[in-house]
């Protein structure tokens, strides 16, 4: 194992959805960071990245939350989270401050050291240090990968997750049609315009199942909850998981939206 204490100190940006819906995604992220030789910490004072306020036009709340996040992650060499959308929001922080505001510089500086997890692993840590770990993993399934919008178009994440996945033994990646088209989640969009959102996620569900994949993977829980919810409603057998679950070898937890028999027995 790499020497944990010698690596960079990384602040984990948990993200609301991993926090509330799927802690295993955050645990998997921690595991990957530690395997990469980082010291992962979880700042107590983080909540949400502020995107709901930003996209609703509430600049004041956005700035308040941005300040809180900037303070919470002060001093970490890197900030890493399992979501292109939330990390993308951190990258928007400089836009919410006037350049004369003392937080403006700090926002710029936070932007430069925050990364979505697959981009952090591939672009910052580098494949050389990860390959050995990843090659010990097994996931004997055909998978397909959905490119979430902010990760893809704002942060340029396309090859990183695929390159990492390809190291895992047994993974067969089958690209779906229109992998880069929005799934229709869009934060509050999916409840404000449910019918349009439904059309978009119905298309996505069809493209996913056309591949014959066993599992659809992605890097954003919002999209994954949306796609899993649709696949399940349509009675399709495809499972949905966050990519970090596969990369961290943590696929023994039930997939998104699958019955949790273990826990049910405990109750």
């Amino acid at each position: 194992m790499p020497n944990i204490s010698s690596g960079p100190r990384v602040g984990l940006f948990v993200t609301c959805l991993a926090d509330m819906f799927r802690p295993s995604v955050a645990f998997a992220t921690v595991k990957l960071l530690e395997q990469a030789g980082c010291k992962a910490e979880v700042p107590e004072r983080q909540t949400c990245c502020g995107q709901p306020a930003f996209n609703s036009g509430d600049r004041k709340t956005t700035a308040d939350i941005a300040r809180q996040t900037i303070d919470a992650f002060d001093g970490y060499e890197y900030v890493v989270g399992p979501s292109g959308s939330c990390i993308g929001m951190l990258h928007y922080y400089p836009e919410v401050f006037d350049p004369s505001d003392s937080y403006y510089q700090r926002a710029l500086e936070l932007k430069n050291r925050s990364f979505e997890i697959t981009s952090f692993l591939f672009d910052v840590i580098g494949m050389d240090s990860l390959q050995e770990q990843l090659r010990q993993l097994q996931f004997n399934h055909k998978v397909t990968y959905h490119d979430s919008c902010s990760g893809l178009r704002q942060l340029g994440i396309k090859q990183q997750p695929r390159q990492l996945l390809q190291q895992v033994q047994g993974v067969e990646l089958e690209e779906m049609e229109e992998a880069e088209t929005c799934c229709g989640f869009g934060g509050t969009f999916c409840v404000k315009y449910p019918e349009i959102s439904n059309r978009m996620v119905s298309n996505k569900s069809e493209f996913i199942s056309n591949t014959g994949a066993h599992t659809v993977l992605g890097g954003d829980l919002g999209c994954l909850l949306n796609m899993a919810g649709k696949l399940k409603r349509e009675g399709k057998q495809v499972e949905a998981r966050h990519i970090v679950e596969v990369l961290a070898g943590m696929t023994d937890t039930p997939a998104i939206g699958e019955a949790d028999y273990g826990l049910a027995q405990q109750l």
Partner: protein
């Protein structure tokens, strides 16, 4: 044109249920984006051209007054007339005036979105001048008393049967469903109109300051007949269309054709530089340019200035998953798709247009294909800010946001709250792993299951783990 934008949701609902429309939209999705992708892949410097296009437009907008004045000077030098129209009404009156001066009964029209914007056809008709659309798509729409649902493929929402019926009802000829026969029929009918017209009205894709020329870019050639046959040619265009030189124009022509239809060059690129000169074989005797402002000069210097770079290529709507789902008529006014979601609130007011900038997931696809790199999602977000400041958003959304913001700004309260919410949802789901119906979340569960939370929040589980680790 009547403003139906406030009914966006209802119109979208109807559009989603319209099988014919959905089929047409499916064809669009497979057509333009694929052709654009091929054209772009054949041109390695395309991304640089986009940068140049953006920078040049920005430069023009910084010096808009200068280039417009230069353009005006040149048009006059060439023997033409320039009219400045501050509002849509002004523009309509100016155009009617020109028509009445030459005692016009009918006018032929090339395709022009600006004339849609100002509602020219209705105005002319109400004042005794009969406009005849000559672009095939626009002609079909005129027969059907319909409006464009796309800025370059106006009749994209119709199918062959619709066209066949419209022709049969209006041309009094045997009904045919053969596209070639229909095309020929349209040609014959329109040819008479071209010859009979007193005035020809076209739009302009660009106005060249250096030469005082306007240019129209088409694939049918109808525009050429519209502007050369009648004695009077009126160009109706808007102030942001001006470019400094012919050379600059060619940059935009290269961007436009590829972004719009995936062509390397459009079939007809026709320049008009004033009335017929001595020795010219054809051309109009009178040449007028009507420069429409209609709210655009207010955008200069505002947070919406970037929108004035738009060259009306339609790439943003061709690639938009929302447009692709609901089609152009759902947007309820002239300009659909992402560019419409920014422009429409500017032109009809955010109070009526507010639905549009909200109907976006901010997926960013539009911005990624826009030839002049307009940050469309950002501009839609500016409209949402405007709405927020004016308290225009629905109460439920406002209160919901405020409640959430209260918690998100207080980590000590946020944590127990999220713990409780996760626990409640988990309990509600029971052992199912997902929820079929969730109170207050009908927007979600009417259409899809809600995957259940795993149980504890991460913050809670992490803390427990750290504690346990510390005790070891």
């Amino acid at each position: 044109m009547q403003i139906n934008t406030p009914f966006f949701k209802q119109r979208a609902h109807d559009a989603l249920a319209d099988a014919n429309l959905q089929k047409a939209l499916g064809n669009l999705k497979a057509g333009f984006p694929e052709k654009r992708a091929i054209a772009v892949s054949r041109m390695p410097e395309f991304e640089q051209l986009r940068d140049q296009g953006r920078d040049l437009k920005n430069h023009i907008l910084e010096h808009l007054d200068l280039y417009l004045e230069e353009f005006e000077r040149k048009v006059i030098e060439n023997g033409g007339h320039v009219h400045w129209a501050r509002t849509a009404d002004d523009a309509n009156r100016i155009i009617l005036d020109i028509c009445q001066q030459v005692d016009a009964k009918t006018v032929t029209k090339g395709k022009s979105m600006v004339t849609e914007e100002i509602g020219l056809n209705d105005f002319l008709e109400a004042n005794g001048v009969q406009p005849v659309e000559t672009d095939l798509g626009e002609y079909i729409l005129q027969l059907r008393h319909d409006h464009p649902s796309h800025i370059i493929a106006p009749a994209i929402h119709l199918n062959l049967e619709d066209v066949s019926e419209a022709f049969h009802a209006n041309h009094h000829r045997p009904k045919s469903s053969d596209p070639a026969v229909l095309m020929q029929e349209a040609r014959e009918v329109l040819r008479e109109k071209f010859v009979a017209a007193d005035v020809g009205i076209t739009g302009a894709n660009f106005c060249v300051a250096e030469t005082g020329s306007t240019i129209i870019v088409t694939n049918e050639g109808n525009g050429d007949l519209t502007q050369t046959l009648p004695k009077t040619h009126v160009v109706v265009t808007s102030i942001e269309k001006v470019v400094p030189t012919l050379e600059d124009m060619t940059l935009f022509l290269r961007l436009l054709a590829r972004s719009a239809t995936g062509q390397e060059f459009s079939v007809y690129n026709t320049l008009s530089s004033g009335p017929r000169r001595e020795g010219d074989q054809d051309g109009p005797e009178n040449f007028h340019v009507v420069l429409v402002d209609n709210g655009r000069s207010e955008m200069v210097g505002s947070e919406f200035q970037d929108m004035l770079r738009c060259i009306r290529c339609s790439a943003c709507m061709n690639h938009c998953p929302v447009y692709g789902a609901v089609g152009g008529h759902s947007y309820g006014w002239v300009y659909p798709g992402p560019m419409g979601s920014v422009l429409t609130p500017q032109m009809i007011g955010i109070e009526k247009g507010g639905m549009l900038p909200n109907a976006s997931t901010f997926c960013g696809k539009c911005e990624s294909v826009c030839p002049v790199r307009i940050p469309l999602p950002k501009l839609m977000r500016h409209w949402r800010e405007d709405e927020f400041e004016k308290h225009l958003q629905p109460k439920a959304a406002r209160y919901g946001l405020a409640g959430w913001a209260f918690l998100a700004k207080r980590p000590a309260l946020y944590k127990p709250y999220t713990r409780m919410a996760s626990w409640m949802m988990k309990t509600w789901a029971g052992k199912n792993g997902r929820i079929k119906k969730l109170p207050l979340a009908g927007g979600w569960t009417d259409w899809r299951d809600m995957p259940a939370p795993q149980g504890k929040t991460f913050m809670q589980a992490w803390k427990e783990q750290q504690k346990a680790g510390g005790q070891q």
